[in-house]
Symmetry: C2
Subunit: 473 residues, 2 copies
């Protein structure tokens, strides 16, 4: 059944690629209100497509007013497989990261451009490419077979790149509509490419922004220099206390609840080979990080504190002899199993407050909480289905790995709807997601249009009763 659908989708390659181009041209940057038009365009395009391929109940889902930042999710369902078959939630997101720094792009970020078999554009890899593959797979089943092997609920989020702030309330308000046996995510995962890998976990995240003030106003460095705290000096001194010289986090209480890395996990980390020298060379960077761990362990099994932005004083052309009175920093943390996002924020905040000397005032701006790390249990049917599919496609059993990034929905759906997720996205780690010149391999698009029909077919061989029922918070 999946072969006929895959064959059909292969024939539709040009049309699907053209749809992907159209979707990418909408600059759907969720973090910046200036891109509201792009968000709306991407939404309308996907709503139209979901209706056109024959889904029912196609609509926008939003959180109740007051809980929403105004980026609704897109929903559509097909439930003709019957109550014995599993109901699979398919997850993707239509929002993207900001494109700046714009001057580093070789082609305009929102004008998809093909070079050397790669589609360059913001959002191509993260995650419009994989999202559209999932949508078109369902379209293929409905067009060729008149139905899917499983019941399907498509859920395409609009706030993934800003940490899904409205999602808990949105889920609460649509609990019945979103009921499912499991979730298959087009975001995260390494399903495409030469190294078969099964992504069974991801790090969590939380954020913290703060401003630092040393005086009521900026001053002339000639008048006060030598006798007045400089906010930039203080910001530098403060941020320098967060890590040691090998990047180890020095925040007290940061790892509360984190067990020592087990031998089982270290073995799992080693199961997927990583050429560390090549990995650093790809970024043009020198090896770095806690020497007690491998690069894969550092990036998937160890928590981090990262400064994502830092600024203050005069930053335009030329020079200005100012002693600045304020400075700013944006931080995000990556979390591992055992860490509570709010507790981590509190620990980092307490660290900064403890290290700020008298005369340095801190002001924090953050939404308390975040996303815990996620892990899919070893005996979950999703792992069996995906393992079989990848082994068939690639000729070898997939390695088990984890994503260093965060797919908030996996944690949220587990905590709020009691369903587990498997990341089955097609992006490769080298595709510069979140950076200039992001791209998506056309070969991954093609591979995705084979893998997704296979996994829906595989899941269709299981029964709804095979899936674990979890208690919901």
């Amino acid at each position: 059944m999946s072969e006929r659908v895959a064959e059909y989708l292969a024939g539709q390659r040009e049309a699907i690629l053209e749809r992907l181009r159209t979707l990418i041209r909408f600059p759907s940057v969720s973090t910046d209100p200036a891109f509201a038009e792009g968000m709306r365009g991407a939404r309308d395009f996907l709503l139209d497509r979901l209706r056109a391929i024959g889904l029912t109940d196609v609509r926008l889902l939003d959180a109740p007013k007051g809980d929403s930042i105004g980026q609704p999710a897109i929903f559509g369902a097909w439930t003709g497989a019957g109550p014995d078959r599993p109901t699979i939630m398919i997850y993707g997101h239509y929002d993207v990261q900001p494109a700046d720094p714009l001057e580093l792009w070789h082609s305009p970020p929102f004008e998809p451009t093909i070079r050397d078999g790669r589609l360059y554009a913001r959002g191509a890899s993260d995650v419009k490419g994989s999202t559209l593959v999932a949508v078109e797979t369902v379209a293929g089943f409905l067009a060729v077979e008149g139905g899917c092997p499983v019941n399907v609920k498509l859920f395409l989020e609009g706030e993934e790149e800003v940490g899904s702030p409205s999602l808990p309330a949105l889920i609460e308000a649509n609990r019945g509509l979103l009921a499912a046996d499991a979730m298959l995510s087009a975001d995260g995962g390494g399903a495409a490419g030469p190294l078969p890998a099964l992504n069974i976990g991801c790090r969590g995240t939380c954020a913290l922004q703060f401003s630092l003030r040393t005086a009521r106003k900026d001053a002339h460095s000639g008048k006060v220099g030598g006798a007045m705290r400089n906010a930039l000096h203080e910001m530098a001194r403060l941020l320098a206390t967060l890590h040691d010289d090998q990047g180890r986090v020095l925040v007290q209480g940061f790892e509360a609840g984190v067990p020592p890395l087990s031998n089982a996990l270290r073995t799992e980390a080693a199961s997927l080979p990583l050429d560390e020298a090549a990995w650093y060379a790809e970024f043009g960077a020198e090896p770095f990080g806690d020497p007690a761990y491998t690069v894969r362990e550092r990036t998937t099994m160890r928590p981090t504190v990262e400064v994502n932005g830092m600024w203050g004083g005069y930053t335009a052309e030329g020079s200005k002899t100012v002693t600045p009175c304020e400075a700013h920093a944006k931080l995000t943390m990556r979390l591992v199993p055992g860490q509570d996002p709010a507790a981590v924020q509190a620990a980092v905040r307490a660290h900064l407050e403890r290290h700020a000397p008298r005369g340095v005032a801190l002001e924090f701006h953050y939404r308390p909480g975040g996303t815990r790390a996620f892990t899919l249990a070893a005996d979950h049917p999703l792992r069996a289905a995906a393992g079989a599919v990848l082994e068939r496609e690639k000729g070898a059993a997939p390695a088990v790995t984890r994503l260093g990034g965060t797919v908030p929905i996996t944690t949220l759906f587990q905590e709020r709807l009691g369903i587990d997720s498997l990341m089955f996205g097609l992006a490769s780690p080298d595709e510069d997601a979140h950076a200039p010149n992001e791209f998506f391999r056309l070969s991954s698009l093609e591979e995705g249009l084979r893998l997704w029909p296979m996994i829906l077919t595989e899941l269709g061989r299981m029964r709804a009763a095979d899936f674990p029922k979890r208690a919901v918070a």
Copy 2:
């Protein structure tokens, strides 16, 4: 003679204030090419005024092509006092600092606004107010007396706020035209206000900008976080090495050539009272700085390293989970007698290079050199003249003090033309030069229109032969 001129100028107050408003409305920001129009407007206005009041040889002076950044100085002369009388160069500048951060201004920076006897605008205090007082004083003598007590050469610079890069070449190319016995500066000095003070020195300055790179490209913090250097962490760590926790500079070789502060200098520093608690309260800041020195010593007799701007990563609305590969910082140093600007730049650069770990590449952008500190000798006729004038106006002998900032022209004219300078400006230290809501007291304008006729008259009682002739480099 000065009384009649002062009386005339007092009667012209409204017209002079209106001219100052017009001059301020030209946004003459020299550091930013976007303000070329404002620079041109300020120049044309002053050229017209100098011609109108009867100066001869009114023209723009520029450095030879290649040495100029394109901000010529304005020149005009009156030499009718005869060869026995001293020739006094009067210095001012028509360029201003950038106005940002714009959002902190209570009224538009280039729309002069009077509130509570203060004229608020960028450049009002630094230094269009004092510059115009000098011009109008010469105008007053020519209008009332038909001549000045001394020969006058007006020199109004256009690159003061960017460190006078073209000035050495400009002086070289106009050595004959600029010959004088001494220079009186409208920039610097505390001639106006209740505390009589004679400004006999200023700190020097030099600048250094650098970028820091940790990888070839920005990366997704989920993918690389924990195993890749973050340029912002490295910038913070590096800048944190420049000072100890009391602000003392830790750069090796930074104070080479600086003698220990003498008792004579410490006594001089103490001669002008400073209410340190009130000084800090004015800025809303806590006391800070090397406890071995008083605030006046810290700000006028001790050298500094200041970070004026620092930036990198994502700084717009919302959050972005990026591990940035580059960061930037702008530094300026304040120098005291004995320090060589180029040697200080080299020491700071060497410090940064020494403290940058493997994997952190630094790139420096700066013009080697800068301005040495300046001191006016104790027996110089300028000191006698200004002392007499201030004592007459205020009823007490002025304290001797130094400017913490830099008036590059004082050093340059001493080194290149062999003439000494006295800073006789009217700005007060609390007028927020270089900061939002800069203002100039209208009472200082009025006082300046009395003091400047007096000092020109006092200098007219001296002979050209009374002024020391220095060797020129």
